[in-house]
């Protein structure tokens, strides 16, 4: 065998292995989608079949939407994720601008104060944060559901790194021409950093969209639940409604997958660059 043929054979075998592994990895998702088309009877039969009898059976989706306020849940999630992302990004941009363009007393210390928040995992602070939020009468409100995620230290750090590539002289020149800092931020800094901003927004949106524990704690009323919490409440309706649960889960996965497909490149970039900050 020539060397070329050898590498070709290796490539083919690696590709096949990778495809088989890939099928195993996506199997739960495929199973969920197939299951969403099955009837209750099909679920009860043994041996369990992988494929549903027909893909035209849309009854499950209809019933899932009828029985649970899934669309309302999704709307709630959307509002919380957008609000949280908007505020978090605003705060991060302002702080990053200050750290990148100003010299002031205590800069290093304050920078550390913000960064050190990354060391305190939110899960361990939930109990006291819950008490605070309930005392502020923010239970069952959109604000309460995202107020604890307004501080994004990693976002701030990434932005500051990016802002520092903009020459300071440019800002000084702009100021001499009568351009205020806010205007400089809006019309020079932000447009220049658009790729990073977009990536960080996506990353933060997905974080908030996928949040489970905190929204669960601060919501009691059914119509305020986010989609991640709502989906898990379906078991309470009846434990044997597997076909309905899978239909509902499939529906909730749709927006996630759309986001994943559209923004895949951005997500990947954001995650890898954010991670290598060190």
């Amino acid at each position: 065998m020539t060397k070329k043929a050898k590498t070709r054979a290796a490539d083919i075998s690696v590709t096949i292995t990778a495809l088989i592994l890939g099928c195993i990895i996506i199997f739960p998702v495929v199973y969920c989608i197939f299951g969403a088309f099955k009837t209750r009877v099909e679920f009860g039969s043994y041996p369990p079949a992988l494929l549903p009898d027909s893909f035209a059976n849309l009854e499950n989706f209809k019933e899932a939407l009828d029985k649970t306020p899934l669309l309302r849940y999704m709307l709630n999630s959307l509002i919380v994720a957008c609000l949280g992302t908007a505020v978090r990004m605003t705060f991060s941009v302002l702080a990053a601008y200050s750290f990148a363009f100003f010299d002031f007393k205590g800069k290093k210390f304050l920078f550390l104060v913000v960064l050190a928040t990354m060391m305190l995992p939110g899960d361990t602070l939930m109990v006291t944060n819950y008490l605070t939020v309930s005392r502020l009468n923010l239970l069952d409100t959109y604000l309460g559901m995202c107020i604890t995620s307004f501080v994004g230290a990693s976002q701030m750090f990434m932005l500051r790194q990016n802002f520092r590539t903009i020459p300071r002289a440019l800002r000084d020149a702009a100021r001499l021409d009568g351009c205020s800092d806010l205007r400089f931020l809006r019309s020079v800094v932000l447009p220049v950093s658009r790729p990073v901003l977009l990536t960080l927004c996506v990353q933060s949106f997905i974080n908030l969209w996928n949040a489970y524990l905190w929204p669960l704690l601060v919501t009691n009323r059914d119509e305020m639940r986010t989609v991640q919490v709502g989906v898990t409440m379906l078991t309470a309706v009846g434990n044997t409604n597997y076909h309905l649960i899978l239909a509902a889960v499939t529906l909730t996965l749709l927006p996630s997958f759309v986001m994943f497909i559209i923004l895949r490149k951005n997500i990947v970039k954001g995650m890898t660059s954010g991670a290598l900050v060190g």
């Binding site: 292995t17 495809l19 592994l21 890939g22 990895i25 996506i26 739960p28 998702v29 969920c32 043994y46 041996p47 369990p48 605003t90 302002l94 200050s98 100003f102 002031f104 304050l110 104060v113 913000v114 928040t117 305190l120 995992p121 939110g122 899960d123 361990t124 602070l125 939930m126 109990v127 006291t128 819950y130 008490l131 307004f150 501080v151 230290a153 300071r168 002289a169 000084d172 020149a173 100021r175 001499l176 800092d181 969209w209 489970y212 524990l213 991640q228 989906v231 898990t232 078991t235 597997y242 899978l246 996965l253 996630s256 994943f260 895949r264 997500i267 995650m271 890898t272 991670a275 290598l276």
Partner: protein, 305 residues
């Protein structure tokens, strides 16, 4: 262009020499007010309060009623559930971190070279990233169900993945691996692809085989990424609570109770805030200790000899 550059330089020089007016000096702080305010209110204050709670007696409304000293901790350490939860969490972490490292690094090595179908299987490997934890937990709950689930039938076994006391934690582990792998795979893949080709080619010319290249070049080069993955995964698995809450509710007979899950049940269901605070302090210290250890261990080594 030349002119512009010149004026720019002159002006900036002028600005640098010019006196800084006092009014200007408050501005940098103003920009920092929002983030600092919220960092204090929702991160530092709760941390301080949790610390305080763990040394005090606290009533069901969250008000401090007295000083307890080490009593809360003493109570916690002899609490039967705590020992179980601590053991479960540490066990999960001890299994999750190395397994996840091997699987995600293995997949990344498999994909490292770009081939015709790279895009297809890379997307397959990263797909779990698009599935939120709660959805994944619901799917696995049904998929691994002993009566209607497909896994037992497919493997031809009778195993109560989430019902059997001895197996339940492994069920949770599989779910955690499935959810965590994709992200780490991407990190490793981009780290591996950043290794300069010349290095590998030069090594090949010198007769280095696959494993020599792997252990002498690739692994040392991606060590910073590996360290990051190890640290974040330690934190992640020490904080495991979602899957437990959705699938097993800590059961069967506390086999899957983790520290954060116990904190949740004692804090919300029993309103025992001082106990919950103690658990969160212990979890925090453990996690902090582990990551610190990993970093110290790392700083003693020299990768690029």
């Amino acid at each position: 262009m030349m002119l512009q550059k010149n004026t720019l330089r002159r002006q900036s020089g002028w600005a640098a020499q010019g006196p800084i007016r006092r009014g200007k000096q408050i501005k940098p702080y103003l920009y920092l007010v929002p983030i600092l305010l919220f960092a204090i209110a929702f991160i530092y204050y709760p941390f301080g309060k949790t610390f305080l709670y763990s040394f005090c007696t606290v009533n069901a409304k969250g008000q401090i009623t007295g000083f307890a000293g080490w009593e809360n901790f003493a109570y916690l350490f002899q609490h039967r559930n705590f020992k179980i939860a601590l053991l479960n969490t540490v066990k999960l972490t001890a299994m999750f971190v190395p397994l996840n490292l091997c699987v995600s690094l293995g997949l990344a090595l498999l994909c490292n070279k770009k081939r015709r179908l790279s895009g297809v299987y890379e997307t397959m490997f990263t797909l779990p990233m698009a599935v939120p934890m709660s959805a994944a937990a619901m799917i696995f709950k049904i998929l691994f169900n002993p009566t209607v689930g497909y896994i037992n039938y497919f493997l031809g076994i009778q195993l109560g993945w989430f019902e059997d006391r001895k197996v339940a934690m492994y069920g949770i582990l599989i779910l955690c691996l499935w959810m965590g792998m994709a992200f780490d795979f991407l990190l490793f893949l981009s780290a591996l692809r950043a290794v300069p080709d010349q290095l590998l080619e030069a090594a090949s010319l010198d007769g280095a085989g696959f494993f020599t290249k792997l252990f002498r070049i690739q692994i040392p080069m991606i060590m910073p990424t590996a360290l990051y993955v190890i640290c974040t995964n330690m934190v992640l698995s020490m904080m495991t609570s979602g899957p437990v809450m959705i699938i097993t509710e800590g059961g069967p007979s506390r086999a899957t109770t983790t520290l954060i899950y116990m904190m949740y049940t004692s804090g919300y269901q029993s309103s025992d805030y001082s106990l919950a605070a103690c658990i969160s302090i212990v979890t925090f210290l453990l996690t902090f200790g582990m990551t610190a250890l990993a970093l110290v261990f790392d700083s003693k080594r020299n990768y690029y000899e």
